[in-house]
Amino acid sequence: MSDIDLTCREMVELVTDYLEDALPTPDRVRFEEHLAGCEGCGHHLEQMRTTIRVTGTLDEDAFPAGQLDGLIQAFRGWRG
């Protein structure tokens, strides 16, 4: 990455690296400097955070209890 300011397009591509705390310090500083002066990128970052939060409310898929029998049998066999 060069020394010049990040564009909004570059900001969008870096947003996950930023949220994952995976940007090297100079890049994180540039990211935050851009963010401080750019309403659009602020909104985009918030949209990503909202997306993550809403995704986090989805249910983990649980396996139906009725289909466990075979595995429980195997578990008994393993113990036996």
């Binding site: 591509e13 909104h43 909202t50 995704t55 989805l58």
Partner: protein, 216 residues
């Protein structure tokens, strides 16, 4: 930067002891929690759902047989999925089904960015927003967390290339750490992040499309 692994928790170690003691309730709970997710992970590497079921059954056996060797240097679930991934990959190879990583991961054609969002080289601010993204902070939770929105996100995840979908499910639905997902799926830290980025970007776009479709 986080590169370390997640160690087994006290609950993990207690659960391992219960399993070793033959506690069926503990085993049933673990299977209920993971079976559906494990089937999807296995299915990425093998030719059919039936073979995936076979692989997962083998993985449970491998997990039980390996419990004595579990040393708690990773979380229990990471260790379990690593066993699963290894068995699934081996089985896929034996089936003569070598799945290129790119077909699981999705290729660069489905990039996270839509060029139309940004000004072009002839515009005043090349690479700047063509029109500003909406501010979602004012959207009430009862709209964001409605059954309709959750169904829409579920559908958007189901449409993702398989590896993107599983990374997103493990990270954002199940709340695993990046180190756990990387170890469980046997992918590099960078790949994990790229997959997560593409997946989240597409889910964001699906949500944007929905939220802004009846914008004034």
């Amino acid at each position: 930067m986080t590169t370390g692994t997640t160690l087994a928790s006290a609950e993990d170690l207690a659960l391992v002891e219960r399993l070793k003691a033959g506690d069926e309730t503990a085993f049933a709970m673990l299977v209920r929690q993971h079976q559906a997710q494990m089937l999807r992970v296995a299915r990425m590497y093998v030719s059919s759902q039936a073979v995936a079921e076979d692989v997962v059954a083998d993985a449970w056996l491998g997990i039980l047989q390996g419990l004595d060797r579990f040393e708690g240097r990773s979380s229990l679930r990471t260790w379990m999925y690593r066993i699963l991934t290894n068995i699934a990959k081996t089985r896929g190879q034996r089936e003569g089904r070598s799945v290129p990583f790119s077909s699981l991961a999705g290729d660069d054609l489905d990039a996270a960015v839509d060029e139309s969002w940004f000004q072009g080289s002839g515009d005043r601010w090349p690479g700047g927003w063509a029109s500003l993204p909406d501010d979602w902070r004012g959207i009430p939770d009862d709209r964001l967390l409605s059954a309709e929105v959750r169904a829409l996100i579920g559908a958007a995840i189901a449409d993702l290339p398989p590896m993107q979908a599983e990374v997103l499910r493990l990270r954002d639905v199940r709340g695993w750490s990046s180190a756990e997902v990387r170890n469980a799926l046997d992918i590099s830290e960078t790949n994990q992040r790229v997959l997560l980025h593409r997946a989240r970007s597409k889910v964001r776009r699906a949500l944007e499309h929905y939220l802004e479709k009846d914008r004034p």
